[in-house]
């Protein structure tokens, strides 16, 4: 994230806020969620990852804030802390809304284990909506895979395609994701295990992006440890010698 000079000045300041009745001191510029996590307060999230810019799609991290006489619901992954802010992470309004979010997610992903578990924790066993509406998606369109690919890996091999109810992460032109290096970041960050990745017979497959990659064999132990394309990408980016990845990290 880029910061202008005056923002750096602001960052070094600290503010005091109250979360669930307890006072905390926090660095200005941090979000409510970051401060909560720093202090061991649990707020559920699905679309957030510490290495990726917050997005605010799943809304599960909503909290209730009080400013003056006004209460409102905000997403804690995006809301920057302020002096004197009063935050409740599990107020009745928050819980009511979180339940509805999980109800909606469960209707979309009626057979997904992660969603079922999380919904269960909030007492949502079955969706409130009639059974004809239930769907069997695994993807909740949180965009973590797309954002990881862009912000962390830097290849932007996939993107969110279409809008509204048709929105989904997809490879360009719905063909093989040409820029994909097979690193699997999308697979690792996906909160609902909607992306399947399999390493078998020297090949890595990620079906969702229609890609297959040859795996590199360690010249010492013989383990197939990473896609050749990914290692080549890293090697070129950091200008490493041609034989740099011949041996796997374990044998080095």
């Amino acid at each position: 994230m880029m910061f202008a000079g005056w923002e750096l000045l602001r960052l070094s300041e600290s503010v005091t806020l109250t979360i669930n009745g307890q006072k905390y001191s926090a660095e200005k510029g941090k979000t409510i969620l970051q401060v909560a996590v720093d202090n061991g307060i649990k707020i559920p999230t699905l679309c957030q990852h510490e290495e990726i810019e917050p997005y605010g799609a799943c809304r599960l991290c909503i909290v209730e804030i009080t400013k003056g006489t006004r209460n409102r619901i905000v997403t804690s992954c995006l809301y920057p802390v302020e002096e004197g802010l009063i935050v409740q992470t599990d107020s009745p309004a928050v819980v009511r809304n979180r339940k509805m979010l999980l109800d909606l997610l469960l209707t979309r992903c009626s057979e997904n284990e992660v969603i079922r578990d999380l919904a269960g924790q909030y007492g949502v066993k079955t969706p409130s909506f009639r059974e004809e509406y239930w769907e069997k998606h695994d993807c909740i369109v949180c965009g973590l895979c797309v954002r990881a690919c862009e912000q962390v890996v830097g290849v932007s091999a996939i993107s969110l395609v279409d809008r509204g109810i048709h929105k989904e992460p997809k490879p360009p032109y719905l063909e093989k994701a040409k820029n994909c290096i097979g690193c699997g970041s999308c697979y690792y960050v996906c909160p609902t295990h909607a992306i399947h990745m399999e390493d078998k017979n020297g090949v890595r497959r990620i079906d969702r992006w229609k890609v297959e990659f040859k795996l590199k064999k360690c010249s010492k132990c013989g383990i197939e440890w990473a896609p050749v394309a990914q290692l080549e990408y890293i090697r070129k980016k950091w200008n490493l010698p041609a034989d740099f990845f011949d041996i796997c990290p374990n044998c080095k």
């Binding site: 619901i73 995006l78 509805m100 979010l101 979309r108 009639r130 509406y133 809008r163 929105k167």
Partner: protein, 614 residues
């Protein structure tokens, strides 16, 4: 032009030319008059004037939208401020001849419904009589592609005044004192927005015109931007100077080709005359503008989505916990205002905040332009003082409901506005009252509905629109709107359950609390207002499985009332499903239920009232 004096001199020359005392014909060639044939009519006028070599005796002007779209093509003739309607190419020679003689073409005048008599002057036509056209009024006086016309009527003098006699803070004070609120729907005080943007940290700032008006049935911004583009541009330059921005953007939806064309021409003309670009009017202030075309996503009318789109990204909104006036376009302080807001600025600078305060009501000063559409007699663009009653717009200006049907509801504020019932017809139309009633101002859509509209079906329609237009980023909007639409569809298909109403209300409350942007948080409005004001219709659908308005196909049955049917065969000919059989003259027709697709055509075509909807 290098100084205010240059502009003044030019203005004097041009205004003399404009008010040369010659008879003048101004024909509307706005977007709504074109499909009625205004282009050939305008060409016919040009040809007639050329043929008879009347260039020196008669002034002819092709202008932007006059507002009374229902009666297009329309024209105004001076002297006399005569209002001609539904002009055809054949009428042109007569209009020219009589205008030269100072006579009137009576058959083209508007006939008042109450008296049946012709009304000559535009200001006496009920549609115009009750309007206050401070912003739209100039449309009839100028050719939108001519900067000379705009300057002749005093255009750019507000800019000159602002640049040469006022400090940025003074300008902001004037706008604050005027009480002007954002015309895009939110109603946020414009002066305060400018002030925050001016004070925000950062050397580079942006000003933006939001012309991505996407509400079904709304075209107020189109009429203004295509009909008087310089007024928007002048407001934008003044705003840029007040805020300290040197770059502006006009974001116009690509579905507005005329507005796009005219704002492009306006910009080029302004640049040529030194009203845009470097050292504007010798003031030392530099400002340039770029035009961006919207790609047809409704959500891009939302400020943060619009800015994302300007940056070349997907048009998705983001949370506004840090306001766009501090961190907007490319994370820089950005002030975005609606077309109509910008067009009000030169007027306020020229005439002063006190004048502006004298129009409208307290806390809601000035006028508002509405696109009056639906089941009303006089459709078109209307500009009214804020605080006017809904009844005055619909029944006085709008001339009441078509075909003497009964008024049922008026939907304001576009798809995420609300439907207001008859008992609220005396509601004052302003930002606060509409919101209190569960609707909103929006960008000025006003759709009138009559007894033939089913309110559950209306709610379903708007939710279908919103489902299609949701960006899909956040769960409440993407999933919530979809489920609401599914429930509403089920109700209209006779599959409604009594628990559905509670579920709809619960979902509505959830969307208001948790959706990421205003599209999601206001999406429940059509549902909540129809449940609140038309609960009986929901109950009829759910409990009795009946659609009282006779709209929802699954719940209605068409049949022939034998005693009333003379066997004329009109319905037989028009039925697209061949479901009606002619049994010979004077014998009632027979309708085959198994073939009927419930398209309502027979009902509409029957003059004897012999088709029954149950």
């Amino acid at each position: 032009m290098k100084s205010p004096q240059d502009l003044e001199k030019l203005q004097q020359t041009l205004s003399k030319k404009l008010d040369a005392g010659k008879p003048r014909i101004s024909i509307c060639n706005g977007t709504a008059c074109r499909p009625y044939g205004s282009n050939p009519v305008a060409e016919a006028f040009k040809a007639e004037i050329e043929k008879r070599d009347l260039g020196n005796q008669l002034e002819f002007k092709v202008t932007g939208c006059h507002g009374f779209c229902e009666r297009g093509p329309v024209a105004i003739v001076e002297p006399g401020n005569l209002f001609y309607q539904k002009i055809k190419v054949e009428d042109v020679p007569e209009i020219v001849e009589k205008t030269l003689k100072g006579e009137t073409v009576s058959r083209l005048l508007f006939k008042a419904a109450e008296t049946g008599k012709e009304v000559a002057g535009q200001n006496e036509v009920p549609f115009y009589r009750n309007q206050t056209r401070i912003v739209l009024g100039n449309n009839v006086r100028i050719d939108p592609t001519s900067i000379e016309d705009y300057i002749a009527i005093g255009g750019y003098s507000a800019l000159s005044k602002a640049l040469h006699t006022m400090q940025p803070d003074q300008i902001i004070d004037v706008i604050k004192q005027s009480g002007l609120r954002g015309r895009g729907g939110g109603g946020f005080p414009t002066g305060l927005k400018w002030e925050t943007c001016r004070k925000a940290h950062g050397d580079i700032k942006y000003v933006i015109v939001n012309a991505d008006e996407g509400d079904p049935g709304a075209y107020a911004n189109e009429g203004l931007l295509s009909g008087n583009p310089h007024s928007v541009l002048e407001g934008l330059i003044i705003g840029a100077f007040a805020i300290g921005a040197h770059q502006g953007y006009v974001y116009v939806r690509n579905e507005y080709p005329l507005a796009l064309k005219n704002i492009n021409i306006a910009m080029q003309q302004a640049e040529k005359l030194g009203l845009l670009g470097k050292d504007i009017l010798g003031s030392g202030f530099d400002f340039s503008v770029r035009i961006n075309r919207g790609g047809g996503a409704f959500v891009c009318g939302e400020s943060t989505a619009l800015m994302a789109s300007l940056e070349g990204k997907t048009g998705e909104p983001r949370a506004k916990y840090i306001h766009t006036v501090e961190k907007g376009l490319w994370d820089r302080p950005s002030d975005l205002n609606n077309v109509e807001t910008w067009a009000n600025i030169p007027l306020i600078i020229s005439k002063g905040p006190e004048w502006f305060n004298s129009i409208g009501s307290k806390g809601n000063t000035g006028t508002k332009i509405f696109s009056l559409t639906g089941k009303v007699n006089n459709t078109g663009l209307v500009e009214v003082p804020m605080g006017i009653k809904l009844r005055d717009i619909i029944f006085d200006i709008g001339g009441g409901i078509r075909g003497n049907k009964k008024f049922k509801a008026v939907q304001t504020g576009g798809p995420s506005g609300g439907c207001l019932p008859e008992k609220l017809l005396d509601l004052a139309v302003d930002f606060d009252e509409l919101t209190k009633a569960g609707s909103m101002m929006g960008s000025g859509g006003m759709i009138v509905m009559d007894e033939d509209n089913c309110m559950v079906d209306v709610a379903r329609y708007f939710l279908t629109f919103l489902e299609e237009e949701s960006c899909g980023k956040c769960v409440p909007c993407r999933e919530g709107v979809k489920r609401m639409k599914q429930i509403l569809t089920d109700i209209t298909e006779g599959k409604g359950r009594e628990s559905d109403l509670d579920l709809l209300k619960e979902l509505s409350a959830h969307l208001k609390d948790s959706a990421l942007c205003a599209l999601g948080s206001s999406a429940p409005n059509p549902v909540l207002t129809t449940i609140k004001y038309f609960l009986d219709e929901y109950e009829a659908h759910i409990k009795q499985k009946k659609c009282p308005a006779g709209v929802c196909k699954s719940l209605i049955k068409f049949s022939i009332i034998d005693e009333k049917c003379p066997g004329c065969g009109m319905c037989v000919k028009i039925c697209p499903a061949h479901a009606i059989t002619d049994m010979g003259k004077k014998k009632p027709v027979i309708l085959d239920q198994s073939k009927c697709i419930k398209c309502r055509t027979c009902y509409d075509v029957c003059r004897m009232g012999a088709v029954k909807i149950e």
